[in-house]
């Protein structure tokens, strides 16, 4: 029969063969398929004991870096907060007092630096925007908490400890296609 669109297909269900009507041979076939999976490698990773290897460019928990002399790099310029598409970063700037030169590298510093980890989308734009080498995303996982407030990370969680430096060399290796703007 000719139809308007000429795309109509008459589907005809094939009649079952004798062995299919018997059910049992087909069931045996199915049983063989399932039993094969008994000996296959399991896909499960037993999480807390085993961990999956992270990608080299994994973007997790942020860190605020210090320089070699242990002074905070951040000057509270606010470029990261401007760059942040999720508006997760809040900075309050302050002026360095005399006698604090060993704490902060430049005259201005971040009195408070908060990242809301629930808003953060871990895009890494803050890291790209930072002119002072201060903020990096690391391969650490943001831990789970019970309260929403606990996800707002302050400087206590973000700034690296002097005796426990965090390695960000992986993040500093840029892709070969990445050409930083030189001035």
């Amino acid at each position: 029969m000719l139809t308007l669109s000429n795309r109509k297909k008459v589907m005809e269900q094939e009649k079952l063969s004798f062995s299919e009507k018997l059910y049992l041979p087909v069931i045996a076939k199915g049983l063989l398929i399932t039993i094969k999976h008994l000996f296959k490698r399991k896909a499960t990773i037993k999480y807390p004991e085993q961990t999956r290897e992270f990608a080299k460019v994994y973007r997790g928990h942020h860190v605020l870096k210090r320089d070699e002399q242990g002074r905070e790099n951040c000057t509270a310029c606010g470029l990261c907060a401007v760059a942040c598409p999720a508006e997760a970063i809040t900075i309050v700037a302050a002026e360095r007092k005399p006698g604090e030169e060993h704490l902060y590298r430049e005259e201005k510093y971040a009195a408070s630096y908060d990242i809301n980890m629930l808003r953060c989308i871990f895009c890494g734009l803050c890291e790209e925007a930072c002119p002072k080498d201060a903020i990096y995303l690391t391969d650490r996982i943001v831990e789970t908490e019970y309260e929403r407030e606990d996800f707002i990370y302050g400087k206590d969680k973000l700034v690296e400890k002097i005796d426990q430096r965090i390695d960000v060399s992986k993040r500093k290796i840029k892709s070969e296609f990445y050409q930083p703007i030189k001035n």
Binding site: L24, I27, G30, L31, I33, T34, I35, H37, L38, K40, R41, K42, A43, T44, K46
Partner: protein, 344 residues
């Protein structure tokens, strides 16, 4: 007489404990086996490899609040799971677990009661088991429960018919209804499955329907009826129903192993020349191996075949299973008569 009572009591307690432990560990095995067939690992957090999981589940079941719906018939609602559990446990009485042990002068049979109507007894007890499900589903005053109960009773009654008919052929060829004698007849390789293969296939399919296992788990199918007859149950009431299912699985595996796969008989065991007691115990262990195989087979099928539609289930039962069983009886009868006539 005292020794008789004592030995039977000990045997009953041992069988009771073994049944419960096997049913308990069937739950974890089921989950593990399902996981393995699906390329997963399965529960592995409680105890080494997850072997304490059944205990954790049991504690959870006991601790939960027992809820009886306001409009439920209270007496029947409580009666349902009790009945299901009791009947599930009762069937193990006639199963011969092994050859008799000789302790000094005393002979201890590893069978609680060798009734001369053993097979009839099993069927009688199993058919009471339907009432547990039916009463529970009906008393819940819930349409899903009622639907589940309806399905359960009609399914179990129709498949019981085919099941009994399939065994009639075995009874004809063995000439006895006693489970102990049927097991004893199958020494060596004279297993009934070789003389009655059709009967075995019908029996195992009906056993799946009787125990409400996939592909015939219509009474409790989650996707259609929430939980079927146990939708309204919580705490240990639910636990009893789930437990009864696993006990039923164990018992029907044991019945299958006894009637068709030689029970405690192990081929070539009598040629090793072991002490009779050791031989009996090895036979018992072999019997449990057969049971374990059937339990695994139940699970294996569960994770392979999808559920039947209800009309397909009824078609299969009434239009395929029962005629096949009748034909099987006819063939067996003819062969028996011919054998008598021609003496071969």
């Amino acid at each position: 007489m005292g020794g008789f009572l004592l030995s039977k009591t000990i045997l009953i307690v041992i069988i009771f404990v073994i049944t419960l432990v096997i049913a308990m560990y069937s739950t974890i095995l089921e989950r593990k086996f399902a996981a393995w067939l699906q390329d997963r690992i399965g529960p592995n957090r409680t105890g080494p490899g997850g072997i304490l999981q059944p205990l954790a589940d049991g504690v959870k079941m006991f601790m939960k609040e027992e809820i009886i719906p306001a409009n439920a018939h209270k007496f029947l609602f409580i009666m349902g799971p009790m009945l299901a559990m009791t009947t599930a446990l009762m069937a193990s009485v006639v199963i011969p677990w092994g050859k008799s042990l000789k302790i000094g002068d005393f002979v201890m049979d590893l069978q609680v009661a060798d009734l001369n109507i053993g097979i009839l007894y099993v069927f009688g007890v199993v058919s009471i088991g339907v009432y547990g499900i039916m009463i529970g589903g009906w008393a819940s005053n819930n349409k899903f429960s009622l639907l589940g109960a309806l399905r359960a009773s009609s399914q179990m009654i129709s498949y019981e018919l085919a099941m009994s008919l399939s065994l009639v052929a075995v009874i004809m060829s063995t000439g006895t209804l006693s489970m102990g004698e049927i097991a004893a007849q199958q020494s060596g390789w004279h297993w009934n499955v070789f003389t009655q293969p059709l009967s075995f296939i019908i029996f195992i399919i009906c056993a799946f329907a009787e125990t409400n296992r996939t592909p015939f788990d219509l009474p409790e199918c989650e996707t259609e009826l929430i939980g079927g007859y146990h939708t309204e149950y919580s705490s240990m009431g639910l636990g009893f129903y789930l437990f009864a299912e696993y006990i039923n699985m164990f018992i029907s595996s044991a019945v299958m192993a006894t009637i068709f796969f030689g029970g405690y008989n192990m081929p070539f065991l009598d040629q090793l020349g072991l002490a009779p007691n050791v031989e009996a115990l090895i036979g018992t262990a072999f019997f449990f191996g057969k049971i374990a195989f059937f339990i695994l087979f139940f699970m294996w099928v569960r994770w392979t075949i999808p559920r039947f539609r209800y009309d397909q289930l009824m078609n299969l039962g009434w239009k395929v299973m029962i005629p096949l069983a009748l034909v099987n009886i006819l063939i067996t009868g003819s062969v028996l008569i011919l054998r008598d006539h021609f003496n071969f």
